[in-house]
Structures are given as C-alpha cells and as structure tokens.
C-alpha cells in the first residue's frame, strides 16, 4: 500500500522537474510540455488529498477535472501563439526571443 | 470681508495663473501685468491684515476652517477629518509679509524673457504654494502646499535657467522631494500620537500642539518625540540646505533666473526654518531641548563652514548662497538656545536673511543683465558706470555682514545673546562667522565695485526707474528692522514667550 507521503513526493518531484524544464529549456514546445508536467503534479496532489487526505472530500477530484480542462485550453492557446511567433521569426528557440530587452 | 482674506491671499496668485492660461501666447506685457496684479493684491491684503493684527494675542487670528476630506477608519474606528484651515499668528505674520513683499518684487524684477506667459503661470503657482505653507493650520494642507512648490520650481529652473539647468532642476526636485518625505512621516506620526491622547484623529496643528502639551509621558514617550524630531530635523536640514545637504542651493542660485533666485533665497528656503519653529519648537520642545547641543553644533559648523566656502567662490551667486547658509546657521544656534532671546533672534535672522537675500540677488541679477557675468574676477570698477547699483550693493553687503542699524546686526545680536547663555564656547566659535562674513563680502565688493573699470564695462547704463522700487523697498525694510526692531519684535514676542513658558513648565 502506497502512503500519502509517497504520492506527495511523486507530485513534488514532478513539479520540480516541470519547473526546472520550464525555466531552462530552449525550445518553447518543451517549455509548454514542462508546464503541463507542473499541472499534472498538481493533479496528483489534489487526487491524493481527495482520497487519503486528513479530510477526504470529492472537491479535489472536481478540482482536477477543472485543472485538466483549463490546462488543455492554455496549451492550445500556447501553440497558437507559437505558430504566430514562428511565422514571424522562423524560430521557436527561447534564446531568439530578444526583440525587447532593457 | 476679513473672514476670507487669507483664502484670497493664497488663491489670488493661482487665479492669476488660471487667467494667464487664456491669454494669447504672443503677448509679453499682458502676462506681466496680470502677474503684477495677482501678487500686488495679496501684498495689499497682507498689509490690511497686518494693520488689523492684534499682536497682544497669542493664538491664531483671521482663522478660516472648513472640513475637506473625511477618511473613515483612519484611527481605530474613527475618521480622520482633514480641514481646509488657514490662520495667522505672531510667528507666521512676518513670514506672510516677507512672502508678500518678495514675491511682488520678484515680478517687478523679472526682465523680458522668452515664453513669458508660461513663466508667470509657474511663478504664480509657486507663490500660491509659498503663501499656503505659511498660512496653513492643517499639517496635511501644509504638506500639500509644500509639494506644490516643487513642480513650478522644476520648470522655472529647467526652462529659464542657465547652462546646467536640466541637471540642477532635477537635483532641486530630488533633494526637496526627499525632504518632504521626512516631513510627511513626522506629521502623520504626530497626528497618530495626538489621536492616542485625545481620541480624535486630526491633522490640525493647534489641536496636535495642545495634545502634545498636555500628553501624559506614558502615552507619548520622550523616545518617540526624539525619534520623530530627528526625522523632522533631517528633513529641515535638507529643506534649509544645511551642510552636508546644502549642494542644491548654490546650484539653484547659480542657474535660476534672477526673480526665482530672489524667491528661493528670500522665501522658499525659509520654509524649513518655519517648520523648525512651528513644529519643532512648537510641538516638540522637549525633543529640541534634548538635542540642543547637536543642533547648536550643526549650526556652528554651518556658520563657519559656509563662510569659509564662500571665501573661495568665484561666482557672486554661489557666494551669496553660502552666505545665506551661514546666516541660517545662526538661526539653528539661536533655536538651540531655547530661550526668549535665542528664538527671537532666530526669527529675526530668518526674516532678515530673507530680505537681504532678496535684495542681493536682485542686485546681482541687475548687474548680470548689464555685464553678462556674475564672476567676481570678471567684474571691476562698477562704481564708475553704475554708481547707484554699486551703492545699493554696498549697503546690502554691509547689512549682510551685520552693520549696526540694519536688520542683520540686531538679528545676530539677539541670537548670539541667547546662545551665549546656553553654549558659551560654541557661540564664541560661531562669532568667527561674522568676522569671516566681513572678509568675503568686503573682498568681493572691493573686487567688483572699485579698481579700474574694464573696457567692456564702460558706458553701461545704471539703474532704471523701475529698478528703484525693489531696491528702495527692501533697503527701507532692512533699515527699519535695524533701527526699530520692535516692529518685528512686537509681532513675534507673544508667540515666542508662549513657547518659552512651555519649555519652562
């Protein structure tokens, strides 16, 4: 039987991998994927708490459904903006996004 | 009629500025006429007030008061009511008159310049701010007017200044902007503490003064008072351009046009002294007493340091700026003494320095207009082509170095008399400043007016008829205070003695 701590640790590891990837990867697609990882870490957390938490309740599962849906919407918009960016600049590399800086 | 006179005085200049907004841009003489009326009327009203002023009374006179802003829940569940309230007492009356005289003469002294309409608009806004500072009875209102002087000054220096105008305008802004931070922190902290005593939150000066006077020591601790006074004092040091925060003043005087120099040296710079008297001595007398030695030391440092620096200045305007700083050092010394003579000397010195600065900067401006320079080395033998101007310059310089019979003398006598009682050694060092003043002023005078007249200065015109007005008026006032000091003394005596009794009790 897996314990709450193990689930939460999995979530934390996933979250950190996602955060690391989102902040360091060069390709925007990978960055978007990393963000999805972070959101999935949240889902694992929510489901763990909904099932094994101090006060288990259905709310966590409902929250997960919302998170998933919204994550999909966010990703869709992200890809759309990425296409527009690619058309303008012919690159999807984070390092090339340097038209504006101080 | 009497009821709204103060409002009229404060807002007539602003009204003038508004009217100017609708005057066509091309015309040069119209703006000056409007500005003259908008500063002359307050001068007349100030005269009326002076005539009706009862100097035997301690409290505020001609007060006006209306509620203005209600801030709910400001103190526990009670509201803070900010009032629009104005009034004059013996302390602010001299400052009011000084402002009225100098700002009006400043308009007279203004020569033809480009963008004249805008110049007068900013000038009049500045004048409103100055009047407001001295007449406000509400700390919030005071602060508002103080900030109101910043913006016009920025433009007045920045547009019509000398070759380093942009930089100096910004410097002026940042220095005085930071100074007002300290003032605001101190004001609001005072208001909250006063509210803890009375249970009612207000920013009314009188109410706060009363609350502090009768506050039990456990509600308003002396360490709180000292902390607040230090914050306030730091701000005053910047406002008054005391060493080591003085660098904005010489720069400003060097870059600003003549009339602005007059107003800065004559009035604007004196706001800090007014705050020191009104808030420092008036509300926090025990804190002033606690820090008296520190204040006196800073005062003496300024007297001597500024005088020494003045000796090596090549530019008249910078020299006068340092001379003014040196004079204001005497004010600090007088305040530190915390006795009748010292405080009175402080007020005298502030007013006297205001009049003298106004006169001196006017004269130097007039000379600059003719010769194109204010560098002492480049001038020489001015007494031949322009004897009148040179003569007045000599009178002003003598007044400034403290010749008996003029305002500078009586101010220094009073201040030092007070100071010697409290700090004999420091005061003795301070008197060095008087000697130094004689040295640098006479040296500069001699270089400027005597000796051979250089070729390009030959045949320059002397004072015009319109220029006599500022010169004569200012000299007359300086001599009047010098030979008949009670004209000023009667005004301030009652207020000062009420402060002194509070220290004693």
């Amino acid at each position: 039987m897996l314990s709450v701590e193990q689930f939460l640790t999995l979530g934390a590891i996933l979250f950190c991998i996602g955060l690391f990837g989102a902040l360091t990867k060069r390709n925007i697609i990978i960055v978007l994927v990393s963000i999805e990882l972070m959101l999935n870490a949240v889902n694992i957390n929510l489901l763990t708490f909904a099932r094994f938490g101090l006060m288990p309740s259905i709310n966590g599962q409902i929250f997960t459904l919302f998170t998933m849906t919204i994550a999909a919407a966010e990703l869709a918009v992200g890809l759309a903006v990425l296409i527009s960016l690619y058309r303008n600049r012919n690159t999807s590399d984070v390092r090339d996004q340097d038209l504006m800086k101080w | 009629m009497m009821g709204n006179l103060l409002t009229l005085i404060v807002f007539l200049p602003l009204l003038g500025a508004l009217i100017l907004g609708f005057v066509p841009r091309s015309n040069d003489s119209q703006p000056k006429a409007v500005a003259m009326i908008a500063t002359l009327l307050p001068l007349l009203f100030a005269g009326i007030l002076y005539a009706n002023f009862d100097s035997g009374q301690t409290g505020m006179q001609f007060t006006e008061s209306h509620d203005w802003i209600h801030i709910a829940h400001a103190f526990q569940d009670k509201s803070l009511v900010i009032g629009y309230s104005l009034g004059v007492d013996g302390l602010s009356m001299p400052f009011l008159l000084l402002t009225a005289v100098v700002t009006f003469l400043g308009v007279l002294a203004t020569k033809h310049m480009h963008r004249a309409k805008e110049f007068y608009i900013w000038y009049l806004i500045l004048v409103t701010g100055l009047y407001g500072c001295f007449l406000s009875l509400d700390l919030f209102l005071f602060f508002l007017f103080l900030e109101m002087t910043l913006v016009p000054m920025y433009f007045l220096i920045g547009i019509w200044g000398g070759d380093r105008k942009g930089q100096v305008a910004t410097k002026f802004l940042i220095y005085r902007g930071l100074a007002s931070v300290g003032i605001l922190v101190a004001f609001v902290a005072l208001a909250y503490k006063a509210a803890m005593v009375t249970g009612v939150m207000t920013m009314d000066m009188i109410a706060i003064t009363d609350a502090f006077a009768k506050a039990p020591a456990d509600v308003i601790t002396s360490s709180f008072k000292q902390g607040i006074f230090l914050v306030l004092f730091l701000a005053i040091l910047i406002e008054e351009a005391f060493f080591p925060f003085h660098t904005w003043l010489p720069d400003t005087h060097e870059q600003a046009p003549t009339s602005i120099s007059m107003v800065v040296g004559g009035v604007l710079m004196k706001i800090g002294a007014y705050v020191l008297f009104r808030i420092g001595v008036g509300i926090l007398p025990d804190a002033v007493q606690y820090f008296a030695t520190l204040i006196a030391v800073i005062g003496v440092i300024n007297i001597v340091y500024a005088a020494l620096v003045a000796m090596v200045q090549r530019d008249w305007r910078r020299l006068l700026a340092f001379s003014a700083i040196s004079h204001m050092g005497v004010v600090l010394l007088g305040v530190a003494a915390m006795n009748q003579a010292g405080l009175q000397g402080g007020v005298f010195m502030t007013i006297s320095s205001g009049l003298l600065s106004g006169l001196l900067f006017f004269l130097i401006g007039a000379i600059k207009e003719r010769t194109g320079t204010t560098i002492i080395g480049a001038l020489g033998g001015l007494s031949k082509p322009m004897p009148i101007l040179a003569g007045f310059l000599l009178v002003a310089a003598l007044g400034s170095l403290g010749l008996p019979g003029m305002s500078g003398f009586i101010s220094e006598i009073l201040a030092f008399m007070g100071a010697f009682k409290a700090f004999p050694v420091l005061s003795a060092v301070g008197t060095l400043g008087i000697i130094l003043a004689a040295v640098y002023l006479l040296w500069a005078m001699q270089r400027t007016t005597y000796g051979p007249t250089t070729a390009q200065l030959e045949g320059l015109p002397d004072a015009r008829a319109v220029e006599y007005v500022p010169m004569v008026v200012l000299v007359a006032l300086i001599i009047l205070i010098g030979v008949y000091p009670s004209i000023l003394g009667d005004l301030v005596n009652h207020t000062i003695s009420s402060y002194v009794t509070r220290i004693g009790g």
Binding site: G11, L19, A22, L23, V31, L32, I35, M38, L39, A41, V42, N45, F49, G53, L54, M55, P56, S57, N59, G60, I62, F63, F66, T67, I70, G78, V81, L85, N88, Q97, L99, M100, W102 | H70, I71, A72, H73, L80, F143, F145, E147, M148, L150, V151, Y154, F155, G158, I159, K165, G166, T170, L173, I174, G177, L178, V181, V185, V188, Y192, V231
Partner: protein, 511 residues
C-alpha cells in the same frame, strides 16, 4: 437562501440576483461572436466595439443595483451574505467595487481600441471585443468567488483571453513575442498557485475559503510549514499576475509588445483583478493567521517599490517606462494588505480595503489617460521613445497638459488623485507604526520624480526634434478617454470626498 450543507436548488432568479453583471457580459460576448458570423465584415467591425461598450455599461449599471441588494441584505440582519451554492459565489460590496472598476476600465479600453482598429485593419475586431468581455468576466469571477476552483477558473479565463489579446497582431513580431512570454510566465504562475492551492485543500479538506478559514486556524500549529508553503506558492502565482518584484520580468516585454489598449487593460483591469484575488484569498483564507505570514508581503511590497522605481530610471521607451512604473504601483497597492498583519491591526481591514480601492480608482484614471495620450503621440512620431514627446507643449498643448497631469498623479504630486491615494495608503503604514515602510513609500516616489519628470522635461523643456508645427489630430474616441482620465484625476485630487464618502458607506464583506 441556502442551507449550510444541504442539497440546494438553484433558481435562475437567485443566480440573476447574484451574478447579473457576469451573465450580461457573457451573453454580450456570445452575441458578438454569433453576430460576427452572420454580418458582413465592415458592419461587424463597426458594430462590435460599440455593442461591447453597451454591454459593459449595462453590467456597470447592474453592479450599481447590486450595492442596493447588499445593503438590503445587511439591513435584513441575518448576517449571511447573498450567495450561491454554499458560499461558492457571493455578492458583497468588495466584489461590487471591483466590478465597477473592471467594467469601467474595460469600457475605456474598448473606447481607446476603436482608434486602434482603424490603424490596424488586420486585427479581427469581433474576436478582440468578445475576448475583452470574457476576460472582464473572468476578472469579476475572481473578485466574487469564495471557492478555490471558481477562483482558478476566473483567473484562467482572464489570463488565457489576455494571452490571445496580447498576441493579436499577427504580423507583428513583438506582439507575438510579448504574448509568448506572458503565456509562459503566466502559465508557470498558474501552476505554482495551483500547487499552493492543492496544499491548502489538503490540509483543510475544503476548497471553500469561507469554511476553510476556520480549519486553517485549527491546523496552523500542526501544519505551519505546509500552510506557509501553500501561502507562498499562491503568493508567487498571484504575484506574477500583478507583477510584484521579483516576478515582474514579463511585464515590460509584454507591455511593450502588446497593442496600446491591451497594455492599458493589463495595467489596470488585469492588475486590479489580481489584487481582488489576493485580497479575497488571503483575507478570507488566512485572516486568522495573518500575523504569521504578513512579513512576506511586506518584503515583497518593499522590494517591488524599490526595484520597480529604480529599474524605471534607465528606460528610454515610454511603454517600458510605464510598465516599470506600474510595477512600482503594484508595490504601493500591496502595502495596505501587507501592514494588516502587524499586531492587532487586522482590525484596520476596512481602512485597508478603502485604501486599495481608492488607489485603484485613481490608478485607473491616470493610466487610461496616459495610455490614450501615448497612443496619439507615439503614432505621430513613429517611435515609442521619450523623444516622441519632445516639444509636445508647442505641437499639442492639450495633450501635453493632460499628460503632465497624469504623470504628476503617478508621481504623487498634490491636487491629483495619485497623491491622495498614496497619502491614504501611507496613513495605514504609520497607523501600524511601520514608519520605515511609509517612508519607503514616499522616498521611492521621490526617486520616481526623476523619470516622471523626464517625461515632463521632454514635453516642456525641449524643442521638437522634427520641425513640424502642424497640430496633432486627436481622434474623438481618444479625446473622450483623455478627458475622462483628466477629470477623474483632478476631481479625486481636489475633492477626494467624492469617492471617500462612497467607500465609507460600503458593507465590504456584508457587515
């Protein structure tokens, strides 16, 4: 209206009572969407923004009606808020004030946009308009919801719409780049906030803030690190939205890349929504333990004020300058909440809410006005640097004077709304005896004089680089925006009681 834990029937009349403005905006959005399908391109372009403004005004009016509902409910004396589904969604004056701000702000943005559409024929007007309406709805949800799920949905509705709006100009590389940056940072922020929410949920077993708050107090001693982590993660997530330092890096780029009206939207409506969310979440969820966490808010506020103002000093691009200035303003806006934690000052909550609202209203007027002026001036000059403003007093006195008022208001000069707003916030810091924080508020403002007066210097002190003395043509829609901004800024500066009186009479959380 509803039992605490019973199954409740939702009637439309209940929903309408609580959510009328939101419903109106959603309907409006869909109406524009559908009309766009059936109308020809020209009339859709012309009609959509006007319809949008109309619906925003309707929502504004409904919000005003809601004030009456709230005071009736309070007078009724049951002590319960008007709410839906067990405090999932509430109607109180806190939400109402923010809704007024959002609808008014978006209406002004759409007004400014009319000119933007004329200049950029490639922009799809209907799409733009309904995205604005949906984004505003999202903001409203953020201000009125008491449930983490709904709050999150509102946040994302606002955010996702904003991402699209920023990247709207397809042939504009900066626009796409700004949009992408905003999207990436914004999504990371959302994930952070969600991760924090998941812990809050884990400890309380509730997604509802109203019920969860009690549990937070009970669990605080036992789960302090975990709850603090939740608080910090949420703070980071929300902090990105309102661009608190050090989470502000996206804002200058996004502000520069976005079209001017959208920048104004981000600066005002989106930021106000972020603050509504912050206040709602922390004041409800963490009010019982606020004394233990407020210090993080204080640090962030201080950092934001300092860094925002210092970074603005070196900016040459006027939009980036305003971006950093708006970062700094976020610091000022966080102060009222931040100082609430000290001692027993949570009692000052009504003061804090008044302060935030007043400053936001002032900020709305001055920012909208500034962006409207900026639009005209930069277009005429063809660039967005400070140089574009050179000699403006000669070319367009009205624009120059208006811009001067807006800039002075941002700098906090007297007789403008910005000054009263800052003073009001300042009172709170002194009241809690955090003198240094109050000093910092005005000291950073004094430093800010340097760059704000740089704008004034360019306008009044310098002569125009181009010797064109032809007057600048100001489109009617922008003139109206500028005039509203000007009147608002000056009126609140000289007669602050106009707004103060109104704010004083509110039942913020229904009390």
């Amino acid at each position: 209206m509803n039992g605490i834990n019973g199954v409740t029937q939702l009637a439309f009349s209940d929903v309408w009572r609580v959510m009328a403005p939101e419903i109106l905006l959603v309907l409006g959005g869909f109406l524009i969407l559908v009309l766009d399908l059936f109308m020809n391109k020209e009339s859709s372009r012309r009609l959509s923004p006007q319809l949008g403004i109309l619906f925003l005004i309707a929502a504004f009016v409904m919000t005003i009606r809601n004030f009456g509902l709230v005071s009736d409910q309070t007078a009724g004396g049951t002590g319960e808020l008007l709410n839906l589904s067990n405090m999932l969604y509430v109607l109180d004056d806190f939400g109402n004030v923010f809704k007024l701000l959002f609808t008014a702000g978006t209406a002004l943005v759409l007004l400014m946009s009319i000119d933007f559409f004329k200049q950029n024929p490639e922009v799809k007007v209907a799409e733009y308009t309904y995205l604005m309406l949906f984004a505003t709805t999202g903001a409203m949800v953020m201000a009125s919801s008491l449930d983490l799920i709904t709050l999150f949905v509102g946040l994302e509705l606002l955010s996702i719409s904003s991402y699209v709006l920023v990247a709207m100009r397809r042939n504009h590389a900066k626009s796409a780049e700004g949009g992408m940056k905003y999207l990436v940072i914004g999504s990371i922020a959302s994930a952070m906030a969600l991760y924090g929410m998941s812990f809050l949920y884990g400890v309380t077993g509730q997604t509802n803030l109203a019920y969860g708050a009690q549990t937070v107090i009970q669990m605080w001693l036992q789960f302090k690190p975990l709850l603090t982590l939740a608080f910090l993660l949420m703070l980071i997530g929300f902090g990105v939205k309102v661009s608190l330092v050090p989470f502000h890096q996206w804002s200058p780029d996004t502000y520069e890349g976005a079209p001017n009206p959208v920048t104004a939207f981000l600066a005002v409506v989106s930021k106000a929504a972020g603050f509504a969310l912050i206040l709602r979440t922390f004041l409800w969820g963490f009010s019982g333990v606020f004394g233990d966490v407020y210090i993080y808010l204080v640090i962030l506020a201080a950092l934001t004020m300092v860094v925002g103002n210092v970074a603005a000093l070196s900016q040459k691009n006027i939009k980036r300058l305003l971006a950093y200035s708006s970062v700094a303003q976020a610091g000022y806006l966080l102060l009222p909440l931040a100082v609430l934690g000290k001692g027993k000052s949570i009692d000052n909550i009504w003061l804090a809410l008044g302060q935030t609202s007043f400053y936001l209203v002032a900020y709305l007027f001055m920012t909208m006005g500034a962006f409207a002026v900026l639009t005209v001036v930069t277009r005429q000059a063809g660039n967005e640097t400070l140089e574009a403003f050179r000699g403006l007093w000669k070319r367009a006195p009205f624009l120059a004077v208006s811009m001067a008022v807006f800039v002075l208001s941002m700098a906090g000069m007297p007789l403008t709304a910005g000054f009263i707003g800052k003073f009001y916030i300042f009172l709170g810091t002194i009241n809690t005896e955090m003198y240094w924080l109050g000093g910092l508020l005005f000291a950073t403002s004094a430093i800010a004089f340097y760059y704000y007066f740089g704008v004034l210097k360019a306008m009044f002190l310098k002569d125009s680089a181009v010797q064109s003395h032809d007057k600048i043509q100001v489109p009617v829609s922008l003139t109206v925006t500028i005039a509203i901004g000007l009147i608002g800024t000056l009126a609140l500066g000289i007669f602050p009681d106009l707004l103060m009186k109104f704010l004083n009479g509110l039942h913020w959380f229904g009390q």
